[in-house]
């Protein structure tokens, strides 16, 4: 059964979503208002999905969403009355997986949550691949820089510089990028 953390940020506080969720068979943990610390709450509750019910998401709501997306990524679904496309865009950028304007029916909840979770998973995979790519590029740049410095210091060609760096790294049971950092640091030190 899905564990849902329901954040009720509506004026009425009657919880227009709660009944629908319980009817649809979800385990609902409720927290009213966004005066709470959302990341801490997510850490404690470990929900599968976060639902935010808000008449109009304000700046503090977005801030909390950004924090959760960064530190404890979870699918976040936002139900709101706000039609403004700029607000919607802001919410998606902050890390909301699905943004639903008005109209909540019990039988629509499951497909909405399914879409939000699928969206979330593919976003996470994309993010991991992009992070790996960024790191590859960063490491490659550092290795290239060190290779250039070594070519000058040893007056050797590119292949010889790579071979020297790799032999040094392997003999010290290190990665090539570690030796590259040592060469760069040494070069900085000696000016």
């Amino acid at each position: 059964m899905l564990r849902i953390l329901l954040i009720d940020d509506t004026e009425k506080k009657v919880g227009r979503l709660r009944t629908a969720l319980v009817e649809a068979g979800f385990e609902v943990i409720e927290a009213s208002g966004l005066t709470i610390d959302l990341p801490a709450r997510v850490e404690a509750v470990r929900p599968d999905v976060i639902l935010i019910d808000t008449e109009s998401p304000g700046r503090d709501v977005m801030d909390q969403v950004v924090l959760v997306s960064r530190d404890l990524p979870r699918p976040i679904v936002m139900f709101t009355d706000e039609h403004d496309p700029a607000v919607m865009r802001q919410a998606i950028q902050a890390g909301v997986s699905a943004y639903i304007v008005e109209g909540i029916h019990a039988r629509r909840l499951q497909p909405i949550l399914d879409v939000a979770m699928a969206r979330f998973e593919s976003d996470q995979a994309l993010k991991a691949q992009l992070q790996a790519r960024d790191q590859q590029l960063a490491e490659r740049k550092r290795i290239e820089l060190a290779k250039g410095l070594l070519m000058k210091m040893k007056d050797c060609d590119e292949e010889q510089a790579y071979t020297l760096m790799r032999r040094q790294a392997m003999s010290k049971q290190q990665k090539l990028v570690q030796v590259a950092e040592q060469i760069i640091a040494m070069h900085d030190l000696l000016g």
Partner: protein, 396 residues
């Protein structure tokens, strides 16, 4: 069911870029995993747009399960294991597999226990006499029921007139645990990859009776394997992976200094976690058998050999199927050539090798003479499989 839709990143870059840029690569703590460790740690993968995450495994069965579950994208793998999974031998449903490239030739060995040494069983002839005259059956360990070590052990024993399935017992032990089993007296000998044979000799726990290259000089051994699904879903990642590992293999064999540095890297805790003295000499071809004999082996471990150790020859894949048939692991003859064509990713390998300027013969079969004098060239797999004096062919 596996979803073969392209990666969400495919649209972002050109058609040759890897669809998946971060790959989990399984390996076992053995000297012949060197090209993977060097590729992952020495900057051979970044230029091809890949990050390789090394995942050490403790048994071949665990490594197989990791490949099948998708936890591992590709792995250091036994030739025989890859074909057994493809054909559905040994308790798993058949899963189409891919041999992306060969990782090495040679570098495995058969050792016997100190107890056998003490009673003078130090030659093939003495072992044959002992096996046929002693009342208790000897127990030999290999590393996986359909693996290369089982096949080398069976082939060697049979070439000495010992039936491997009738005259001795055989058990499976993970490579790094061979010496402990020997010490505990649970096994009388084993066939294993280095450095574990040298490790036993250096601890004075018995001796090396035969090297695998004495059975078949330049025999196929480990491969870089994945499921066929991985190779189909991420063809650019697979090609980039082969190019990265191939470049690393070439680098390792470029000079003795590079080989020595590789041995040092391998001995680290994260990789083989074994003394350098167990790894380095045999990696360089220098053998001591524990009986006082020392020699330089003309067919020691080869990780590249100008590409000859890396080409996924069709005849290499077919050979393991002939041995499965010979020993009754296959009840019927498969279509040897057709299966090898499915599994061996020759086209992918040729693309990667050509991009690095590595020589690629047009031939997809090679010819070898084995210890018993038989010639294997892939031309008559059925006749070859059925032509051995000692066998366990069913239905005959």
């Amino acid at each position: 069911m596996t979803d073969f839709s392209p990666s969400p990143l495919a649209w972002l870059h050109g058609s040759d870029a890897p669809e998946k840029t971060s790959l989990n690569i399984g390996f076992m703590a053995l000297s012949d995993c060197a090209p993977l460790v060097v590729a992952a740690t020495q900057g051979f993968a970044q230029p091809h747009g890949l990050t390789l995450n090394l995942k050490r495994q403790t048994s071949w069965a665990g490594l197989r399960d990791g490949l099948l579950s998708g936890e591992l994208d590709a792995a250091h793998c036994l030739y025989g294991l890859t074909y057994a999974v493809h054909l559905g031998i040994g308790g798993v449903a058949p899963t189409p597999m891919a041999v992306l490239m060969g990782l090495n030739h040679n570098g495995q060995a058969i050792n016997l226990s100190p107890d056998l040494q003490a009673i003078g069983v130090t030659s093939p002839e003495a072992l044959e006499r002992h096996v046929h005259q002693s009342r208790t059956k000897l127990t030999f360990a290999q590393t996986f029921p359909t693996g290369t070590h089982a096949m080398w052990l069976y082939y060697w024993l049979a070439s000495q007139g010992i039936h491997p399935l009738q005259d001795v017992n055989s058990v499976v032990v993970p490579p790094a645990q061979m010496v402990a089993h020997l010490r505990a007296g649970r096994i009388d000998g084993f066939c294993v990859g280095e450095p574990w044979s040298a490790n036993a000799v250096n601890q004075r726990m018995g001796f090396t009776l035969a090297t695998s290259q004495s059975i078949w000089p330049d025999h196929p051994e480990k491969v870089l394997a994945s499921t066929a699904g991985f190779a189909r879903q991420y063809p650019n990642s697979a090609r980039a992976l082969v190019a990265s590992v191939l470049a690393a293999s070439r680098f390792i064999e470029q000079s003795p200094e590079n080989l020595r540095a590789t041995a040092r890297l391998l001995s680290a805790e994260n990789y083989l976690d074994a003394p350098l003295a167990d790894i380095e000499p045999r990696m360089l071809g220098d053998y001591s058998d524990g009986l006082g004999n020392h020699w330089h082996d003309a067919h020691g471990l080869r990780l590249h050999d100008d590409g000859r150790a890396n080409l996924p020859w069709l005849s290499d894949g077919m050979w393991f199927m002939t041995q499965f048939r010979r020993w009754g692991l296959l009840r019927d003859d498969p279509d040897y050539l057709a299966v090898a064509r499915e599994v061996q990713q020759l086209g992918l390998y040729r693309d990667a090798a050509t991009s690095l300027g590595i020589d690629c013969p047009v031939a997809s079969m090679r010819s070898s003479q084995l210890i018993d004098g038989s010639v294997w060239d892939g031309s008559d797999p059925h006749g070859y499989a059925h032509g051995f004096r000692l066998h366990a062919l069913s239905g005959q």
